[in-house]
Symmetry: C2
């Protein structure tokens, strides 16, 4: 696929079929992930590919608990909000069906120097490469972090050492829906030129 | 360009020509940035495009001070290390020539809830989209965070409000060198399957 077509049509795909994803496709998206930059080219990343049914059930239960704790109390308000309801329903679907997703990829990062706003600069570019590559192959993904409310449980289950943090959990599967342009504010609304608050005219094309 | 060709040949380009970058190219890479995902689709991002010579000189001086503080004392050791020397020299070049780069893009994020390992999950995917799009157009970039040692100075200079953090500074310009595959460990070395430490055989192709 053409690069800009992939970028333009990547959106969170949270309703995924249980159909298996091929090893070949998984290696291809991991190849894309490791081509991303990381600070000092340290490559402190690891990617754990989880397909085992029992492991997915355990992770799915922790994820659902995280979902309920963070979003459960807002359920009525979210569903009543027209702008939010669609995304909420799809995220709620994922939280209740995570164990049915064929593959969960957990991206870890070693040697974080404690909590820092920019810690993710060396892992989320790789996660984005992985998700874009999945989209190029017709596979759906979404970047999630709710498992972090049970991070130690996930680490114990998968044998992840103390010096590695689980930075993202990415469900991967064939999508039930179709890809398409996500809803976003255009760059004219979120970019400033020279100084905060200053707009720049975009030539008509 | 084909998607996987872009991903495979993105590498940090730190030696950039002073030649201007067109507005059209800048809008194209900003378009790519805003198509990235962010948690709850909150789009807490802003992108400040800096081309003003005086602003670049001020930011360049702060950046160099950050570089010297973090890497200056390791200079001899880095240059003596064959694996590190090439990257060190190019990062050192950038630190001394930042003001000559035609465009600096500062990616900010609003409403961070304090330092958190996963805070970057909602901004670095957009930064990666921006850098991949630049590469697709033949423009060089690299993800830097050293300006953060002088973050308040940068915020004061550009009028960035208190609730926005500067998450990345991305120099953008026409590269002096050529794009090519970066040096990385292959996915066979950094992926585990089902459990930390467990390898999976990759089919020969």
């Amino acid at each position: 696929m053409e690069f800009f077509d992939v970028v333009r049509t990547q959106r969170a795909m949270r309703r995924l079929k249980p159909d298996p994803v091929s090893d070949e496709d998984l290696w291809t998206i991991l190849d894309a992930a490791i081509h991303a930059p990381s600070g000092g080219n340290a490559q402190g990343w690891n990617f754990i590919v989880v397909r085992d049914a029992a492991a997915k059930r355990a992770i799915g239960a922790w994820y659902l608990d995280g979902w309920n704790k963070v979003y459960g109390r807002n359920r009525e308000a979210m569903l009543a909000n027209e702008a939010m309801a669609r995304t909420f329903r799809s995220a709620d679907y994922l939280a209740h069906h995570l164990a049915e997703v064929p593959v969960l990829i957990i991206a870890t990062q070693r040697n974080n120097r404690g909590a820092d706003l920019s810690a993710g600069a060396s892992i989320y570019p790789a996660v984005q490469n992985l998700m874009l590559a999945a989209r190029a192959l017709g596979l759906g993904t979404t970047l999630t972090t709710l498992h972090r409310l049970h991070e130690q449980d996930v680490k114990d289950l998968l044998g992840i050492p103390a010096d590695a943090d689980t930075m993202a959990l990415i469900p991967v599967g064939h999508p039930r829906g179709t890809f398409g342009e996500p809803s976003r504010l255009p760059p004219e609304k979120v970019s400033y030129w020279e100084r905060w608050g200053e707009r720049h005219e975009r030539p008509q094309t």
